[in-house]
Symmetry: D2
C-alpha cells in the first residue's frame, strides 16, 4: 500500500527502504533535497515541498512521521491543514505518550486519525525488522497492518512461545513483531517502558563487567591510611579477566544471553578497555518518563531508577552533592579529602 514518509534521517530512510523492498509504494518528504533524491533512486516518489508531497498521496492518506520528538508538533502544524477527513497521521518517533493523547484528541475534531508507533530496533532494523508497539483506533491500525507487517521482523526462526498456542493467542500479531497495544498513546507508553527496561538491562551488564574488571584489585598496591578501608582479603581479588571472552561465552546457553549481550561482546572485542569512550551517557527521555510513570502509579522501580540515576551521575551531575559530603566530613571529623588517583578505588 501507499505510505507517505516525513523525515529521512537514519531511521526514516531505513524504514522507507525496508518498505520499498516489501513492495510498498513510498512517497517521501524532507527539506534536504539529497535525502529525497537518494530514496527516489531506490524507487520512492518524493518532494522537498510539503504541499507537493501531500498532493502525491491518494486519499485516505497515510503519513508516517519519523522525526525528533521536539519537532513533531511544529511539523504537524504545517501538515494538518493540508490533510483531509479520514487521513491518517502516524508518529513513529519517540514522542511522549502525553502528546499522543493530546494530538489524538485534537485531530479527532478534524476527523483525522492519529496513530502512535513505538519503534525499536535501532540501526539494525533495516535488516532485522523493527519491533512495533502501536496505539490508536482499532480499525485504523487494522487498515495499516500491511505496513506494520513489512516493517516488523515477522516470526523469523525464533522458537514459538509454547504456552501461547494453548491460550489461543494466535489471533494477535504479537508473534510477528507488531502489536496494537491500546488507544492513543498506548504504543509510546509501551515503548517508553521498553526503553526503561533497556536502561536496566544495560546497567546490569555494565555493573557486572565492572566488577569483573576490578577483580584484580588485590594485585594493585594500596597504601594504608586512616581515610581508606584496607582490603581485608587481597588474595580474593587476584583475577585478570578477559572481558570480551566472558561476554562471548555468556552468549551461549547462559541465562543472561540477549541481543544486548551480543552487541556488548562485539564492542568489547573491538576495544577491550573501551578506551575510545568517555563514559558520559546521554538519556533521551523515555527512561525519565518511565520513572515518572512509576512514581505516578506508586509502582516501585528501584532498578529502572538506579539505571537512570547512573546516567545522570556519569555526566558529573552528582558533583555538588559529593562536595557537600566532603564538607560535612571535614566539619565533623576534620577529614581532609584525598586527592583522586587515576584508577584508584
Amino acid at each position: 500500500m501507499q505510505l507517505g514518509m516525513i523525515g529521512l534521517g537514519r531511521m526514516g530512510s531505513n524504514m522507507t527502504q525496508r518498505l520499498l523492498k516489501h513492495g510498498h509504494e513510498l512517497v517521501v518528504y524532507d527539506t534536504r533535497a539529497e535525502s529525497v533524491a537518494e530514496l527516489q533512486r531506490l524507487g520512492a516518489d518524493g518532494s522537498t515541498v510539503l504541499e507537493e508531497f501531500v498532493a502525491k498521496l491518494s486519499r485516505p492518506r497515510a503519513v508516517w512521521l519519523m522525526l525528533p520528538a521536539a519537532v513533531v508538533d511544529t511539523v504537524l502544524a504545517k501538515l494538518v491543514p493540508l490533510l483531509e477527513k479520514d487521513d491518517i497521521v502516524i508518529d513513529g518517533g519517540n514522542s511522549y505518550y502525553h502528546d499522543d493523547i493530546r494530538r489524538g484528541a485534537a485531530l479527532k475534531s478534524s476527523a483525522i486519525h492519529y496513530v502512535d508507533v513505538g519503534t525499536s530496533g535501532g540501526v539494525f532494523g533495516l535488516e532485522r525488522g523493527y519491533c512495533l508497539m502501536i496505539g490508536g483506533e482499532p480499525d485504523i491500525v487494522q487498515h495499516l497492518s500491511p505496513i506494520f507487517a513489512a516493517l516488523a521482523p515477522g516470526k523469523g526462526d525464533l522458537p514459538e512461545t509454547e504456552s501461547r498456542r494453548a491460550m489461543l493467542a494466535g489471533e494477535s500479531t504479537a508473534d510477528q513483531g507488531f502489536l496494537h497495544c491500546g488507544p492513543h498513546g498506548a504504543g509510546h507508553f509501551v515503548k517508553m517502558v521498553h526503553n526503561g527496561i533497556e536502561y536496566g538491562l544495560m546497567a546490569a551488564y555494565s555493573e557486572g563487567l565492572n566488577i569483573l574488571r576490578n577483580a584484580d584489585i588485590g594485585l594493585r598496591s594500596h597504601e594504608a591510611d586512616a581515610e581508606t578501608t584496607p582490603l581485608k582479603n587481597p588474595e580474593h581479588y587476584q583475577y585478570q579477566f578477559n572481558l570480551p571472552d566472558i561476554a562471548e561465552v555468556w552468549r551461549r546457553g547462559s541465562v543472561i544471553s540477549s541481543w544486548l549481550l551480543d552487541l556488548t561482546a562485539d564492542a568489547l572485542y573491538e576495544d577491550p578497555g573501551l578506551a575510545g569512550y568517555a563514559g558520559h551517557v546521554s538519556d533521551s527521555g523515555e527512561g525519565r518518563w518511565t520513572l515518572i510513570a512509576a512514581i505516578d502509579e506508586a509502582v516501585p522501580a528501584p532498578v529502572l531508577g538506579a539505571a537512570l540515576i547512573e546516567r545522570f551521575s556519569s555526566r558529573g551531575n552528582a558533583d555538588f552533592a559529593n562536595k557537600v559530603l566532603s564538607a560535612m566530613r571535614r566539619e565533623f571529623g576534620g577529614h581532609v579529602e584525598k586527592q583522586a588517583k587515576p584508577g584508584g578505588q
Copy 2:
C-alpha cells in the same frame, strides 16, 4: 573420555545424560539407588558406594561434583582420601569462589587438581547445552576440554561476533560456550557475577511489566484524603495492557529481546495475572556474593544491589523498618496509618 559424576539431582542427572549422548563414558554416584539405576539404564556405570565408584574410575581420575554448595566440603572429606596423585576434582555446583581458592590450595598438597566450573543453563541445559565458566590450572582445564565441549552448547546458529574475528580471539573456546577464565575460583567468580547480572535483568523486566500492569490506575476509583497523593492526571493512566502479547512482541526485533524474555512471555501466556505465585522470591547466594565483591572492590553496583534488595523485601524483611517509618510519622505529624487495601496504591 571417562568422567565420574557425584550428585544425581536434576542438574547432575541431565549433565550425565548429555555427556552419554556425546559418547563419553560416565561413572555415577549417589546415595539414592534409584538415581543411579536410572542412569545405568541410560548407559552409565555407577554405584551407591563411594569406594566402589572411585574404584571404577581409571587414573588419573576425573570426578565431577554436582552438589548443593552446603555439602561439597562434607563429600570432599570422604572422597579425597580415596583419590591419588594427579586425580582431578571438579566442582560444577554453585560454590562460593572463596571456597574454591581454599580447596585448590588444600588439594595441591596432595597433588590432586581442583577445577571450579560455574554452570548456567538451568533445566534447559540438557537440550540447549550449558554455558561453562572454568577456573583452574591451564593444563588440567585443557585435559578436560572434551567434557566441557560436550556439555557446552557449541557455536550453534548464533551469529558470529563480528569484531571477534579481527581480534584473532578465535583461539579461545568462548564461542563454543565454555571458557577457561583463570586460576582457582575464577570460574565461580564469573558465574557469581553472571547471576548478579541475572538478578538485575530479571528485576528490570519485572518492574517494567509492573508499570504496564498499573497503567490503568486512572480507571480505578480513589477516595481523596490528606494521607494520599491524588493522581494529578488520571487521563494519562487509562491503559489496560495485554502483558503476554507485549512480552511476545518484544521478543521480535526489539533492543530488549533475550532468553529471559522468551521465558517471561511463556509464563505470562500460561497465567497472565500470575495468580499462581505469591511473590516471595528466594535468593540462592550468588547475588549476595556479587554485591559483597562490589563492596570490596568499591565498584558501584546500584542496579545489582537494588535487584537483590527487592528480593529481600519480597519476603517481608522490610516490615520492621516500615513500622519505624509509620511510628515516626505518627510522632511528628500525628499521621495515623491507613489500612492497606488489596490492590491499593
Copy 3:
C-alpha cells in the same frame, strides 16, 4: 497585625493560637461552626460565612489558607472574587509549586498578591514554632514579616552558626526560622525538597534499626535447603539489641543526633516491637515531586529515590513484579516458591 485564617484543622488552629499568643489579630473561617467557636473563645474573630469573614478584614487584606492541597483551587475560586486590589493570599499548605506559579500569575492580573509558604513543624509547631519557607514578591513578604516572625521559632537557644557571622548573612531572617526563598513557588519548592530529605533521613534510621533488630539471626534456626543461602557465620549474628536504649544513647553526642531521632526514641520506648503499626507507609506528595524535580534537572538522587520507593513497596505495590520474578525462576530453573514464614529471612 491582622490576619485572616481559612481552614481550622490541626495545623490552621494551632497556627492561629500561636499568632494570638504573639498579640496578632486573627479572623478565622471554617465551614465547621465548632472550629470557629473554639478559636473565638481563644480571642479570634471569625465566621462560617466567607463573605462575612472577608468583610471583617481591613484592606489590604491578608488571608492565610491552611487547607489540603486538593481543595485550595476550589476555595480560591470562591475567595478571590471577594478580594480587592492589593489584597494578599497566602497558601501555607502543601501545594505543588507548579500551582503556585500558575496562581501567582493568575492573581497578578487582579493586582492580588500571592505568597506560598512551606511550613514544617508538625503537631509540635504550636509550642516549638514553625519553620517557614516563603515564595513571593519581596515587598509583600516583607510586609507580612511580623506574622512570619511570630509563627517561626526564633533564634531559640540553638548555637549560632559560626561562619554565618563572618558572611554578614545576619541580614537574612534565616536564623529566626523563616526565609524568603525566592519568587512564586520558591517556598513550596524548598519545602518539597525538605520533605524529600525527610523521607531519606527517616529511611536511614529505619533501615539501620532493622539491621540491629535482625542481628540475632544467627540465634534463629534455619533449615538448609537449595533455595536458601545458608548463613555462613551465625556466630557473627548473636546480638539481641535493646533498640530504645540505642536510639536514646545516639541522641547524646553522636553524629546522627537529630529531632527525628528524638521522636524515634520516644516511639521505641513506647512500643519497642512497634507491634501497633502495620508498616503501610503513606506518601503525601512532596517526596514524589522531589524525585520528579530531580529527574527534570538530571540530578542524581538515589537515596531520596530509594526512600520513596520503600514506601511504595511497604504498601504491597511490588507484588506483581515479585510474582514475575518467581515465574521466571520457575521457568529457567524449575524453582518452586518457598512458603513465606512469619519472621523468616
Copy 4:
C-alpha cells in the same frame, strides 16, 4: 580512676584531656615523644616505651587503645604479653566487630578482658562529649563506668524522652550518652550501624541541596539535539536559591533539623559553592560493613546502600561501567557520545 591510653592522635589526645578534666588519672603511650610530652604537660603520666607504660599502671590494669583499625592487632601482639590476669583491654577505635569477637575469645584464655567501644563525636567530642556504644562482659563494663561517664556527654539540656520514664528504662545509662549494648563486638556493631545511618543522612541532605542548586536549570541555555531530553517546562526551574540561608532556616523548627544540618549550614556559609572541595568522598569501612551485615541478614537497606554506592561513584569507580553503556548505545543506535560540558546536565 586510672586509665592507660595507647594512641595519641587527635581522638586519643582529646579523650585523654577530657578524662583529665574529669579528675581521672591518665597514663599515656605513643611512639611520638612530643605527643606524650604534650599530655604530660596537661597532667598525664606517660612513656614512649611500652613496658614502662604498662609498669606505671596499677592492677587490674585498664588500657584503652585509640588506634587505626589496621594496627590494633599489631599493637595487641606486643601489649598482651605484658599484661596479666584480670587486666582489661579496651578498643575504642573503629574495629570491625568480627575482630572484637575473635579478640575477646582469644584473650579469654589469658583471663584478660576485652571491651569494644564504638565512639562517636568527632573533633567536637572534647567539648561535647562522646557517644559510647559498648560491648563486653557486664561486670567489666560496670567497672569501667566512671571512665565512660566522663567521656560521655551526660544528660545535658536535651529534653528527656517522654515515654522512657514510663518504661522504667531509667536504669540504663543510655540517657547519659553511654550504653552497654551486649557481648563482645556489640559496641562496634552498633557503631557500625550508626555510621551506616550517618552515610544515609549525609546523602539525603546532599542530594536535596543538589536539587535546590540546580533549580535554575530553566535559566541556562540548552541546545536541542537528538541525544538530549529537552526540558519540557523551563519555567518551573527559574530559582536561584541561597543554600546557606536555606540550611540555616531548616535548623529552626523543621522536621529535618539535626547536628549534621548544623554543620552543613556552617560549611555552606563558609564556602557557598563548596569550590574548595573536589567531591571525592572516602569511606572508612563501617558503611561497607553495615551493608554486608544487611546482606547477611537479608534486611533491605536501599538507602544505606545507595549512600555507600554514591561514595564509590564520587571517586570515579563507575567509569568503566559507564563506558560499557556508551559502547552499547553506539552499537545498537549509532549514538555518538556527547562531549561533557562543565556544568552541563
